[in-house]
Amino acid sequence: MSYFGGLGGFILLVRRSLTQHALSTLVTVISVALASGLVMSVFSIKTQTYNAFTGGPVGFDAVLGARGSQLQLVLNTVFHLETSPGNIPWMMYQTIQKDPNVELAVPYAVGDNYRGFRIVGVTDKIFSDFEYQKGRRFQVKPGGQFFNPERREAVIGSFVAQKTGLDVGSKFNPYHGLIFDEKMRHAEEYEVVGVLEPTNSPSDRLIWVPIEWFYRTTGHVLRGKGEIYEPEPGEEIPDEHKEVSAVMLKLKNPQSGFILDQIINKQGKVATLAWPIGRVMAELFDKIGWVNRILSVVAYLVVFIAAGSILASIYNTINERRREFAILRALGARKKHRFLYDCPGGSLHCGTGVGMWICRLCGYPERSGYRRKSPDRCGVGRFRVSSRTPIDTCGNDYSWGSCRTNPRVKGLFNRCGHESRPDLVKLLV
């Protein structure tokens, strides 16, 4: 005798089993899917956020800025979040770039945006000397070029191009401030001369313009000497009037950082050196450690609730199907048929699987090719989702083998198709 009288019989039972309990199956699948998706997301976001802000190179070792918070300085300059803590005179940039401990110094002026994307005034060193990763410099896409500091030109990040539709030859007007407000439109017009290749870094969402032209934008005032200075068109701006939001520094060696830290932070009173950047960001996570703990608690609660709902679902399904299977037993079904007939475990596996896939679709799988394509530094990146989370293990632990051998589950299992004979009779009469 073949199982269920052949494939047709099996399909009939499975089809009816699914349609008969369609709602409960669907609800179970969705709830498990959402639970597993949520748990994976929580763990993943936590890990990825930490890694994105603290791990890996950002191209610079330190940031020099106005006296104040190192964290704000790093967030503003490296990750392009937060506001600038203030400006420092151009002379300070000139001094630091000549320092023997400094390999590269790039001035950074910020204060305008285009539709929410920051416009950053820099020198052309950012393209010629700066390596955003070891051995990797900014590259423009074919047909473009880096800006000419003598002209009002702009080079845009790949993400900006994608979101705004700007391309080589496009012209745009900047808006004052870091938050987009249509009323704050500047009269000057920049021409896009290049679109950068994706770098998987926050730079992808920046618009780079020559710092000189940033100063010459209407409404921008300079206070390098302490008094307000507005450059006239065509007039060369004296260095003493210039100022910058920050200076991004590449140091010659780790000892350089110690020396500069001693000079600027411990002995000096006018500027702040944020160094090393990774430590500054790690301190942020130390300070907001309670958020991580809450996220962990929430995640564990979700796991607990999901596990409870799985058990409740199994229990209810078993009870619902006991009578059905008792009828089948009277018709000649054997105990072993129960395994194929009663598939709550299968449904739950399915649910867990669906959850993982939803999660994978919502996020970016850690081991998939998307990793290379997706910006993986904060500020741009969508978070990748790891498939190695507690719910994954939990889901896979619910298997036929473990059901049969686990003494805790055995009692439950015994109710499923292994009713004692008097019980079977009770169900039938």
Partner: protein
């Protein structure tokens, strides 16, 4: 050789107080090929237990049940399941139809564990019980009498040698009960299937030529003082 031969069959249950309560003690009972027997017994007389022992759903404490030449006690549980699927059709008082399946599918499910699904024969059976136009209905859409007819068709789905009917008219009115019993008897007769029907209803029993009193064959009832089953017997 009889189709069913029961010898010195004993079955007892343990009461909540822990005492053994003997409910079946039958020295001898036989059913021949194609024979139709009505077994009369009141509530609690052990008639359902007796049928379940014959079907192999329950296991006897002692004695022998030989069905189609096979001794049930010598068979393993899967073998008894197989024997039941091949040789016995069961009609329950409460029909026990699968509510999520259509009428036709209920018959096909009855075939699954026997000789395999045979749609033509299932349709033929439904035609025989007058439900040809209700094949795609669900049990809940049928009257009580129609549901019992589906149960009868399902009991015959595997071309069994013996049909066990446990109070098949318990939920039917007088007229419907008469029709259903007539139907069971006729269909079994046409298929050469033996029929063992248990009931306490006189109108049902009167339709049979051979009527056995469970009280006469079950010594457990005679020995109990006073016999509970006899008190409630209708």
């Amino acid at each position: 050789m009889p189709l069913l031969e029961v010898t010195n069959l004993k079955k007892s249950y343990t009461s909540p107080e822990g005492e053994k309560d003997l409910v079946i003690d039958i020295p001898m009972f036989t059913v021949n090929q194609g024979e139709q027997i009505a077994l009369q017994g009141g509530s609690g007389s052990g008639k359902t237990t007796f049928l379940n022992l014959i079907a192999g759903i329950l296991k006897a404490d002692d004695g022998s049940i030989v069905l189609s030449g096979q001794e049930l006690s010598s068979l393993s549980e899967p073998e008894r399941d197989r024997l039941r699927a091949d040789n016995i059709g069961y009609v329950f008082q409460t029909f026990n139809l699968l509510q999520g399946y259509t009428v036709l599918e209920n018959i096909l499910v009855g075939m699954m564990f026997g000789n395999g699904m045979d749609k033509d024969f299932a349709r033929f059976l439904l035609e025989r019980v007058g439900l040809k136009d209700r094949m795609n209905y669900y049990p809940g859409q049928l009257s009580v009498g129609q549901q019992q007819r589906v149960a009868i068709a399902r009991a015959l789905a595997n071309r069994p040698k013996l049909v066990l009917a446990d109070e098949p008219t318990g939920n039917l009115d007088f007229r419907r009960a008469h029709e259903v019993v007539e139907l069971i008897r006729r269909v079994c007769f046409e298929n050469g299937t033996a029929l063992l029907l248990v009931s306490h209803a006189q109108n049902v029993l009167q339709q049979f030529d051979v009527i056995e009193q469970l009280a006469n064959i079950n010594r457990a009832l005679k020995e109990s003082i006073p016999p509970r089953s006899m008190e409630t017997q209708s």
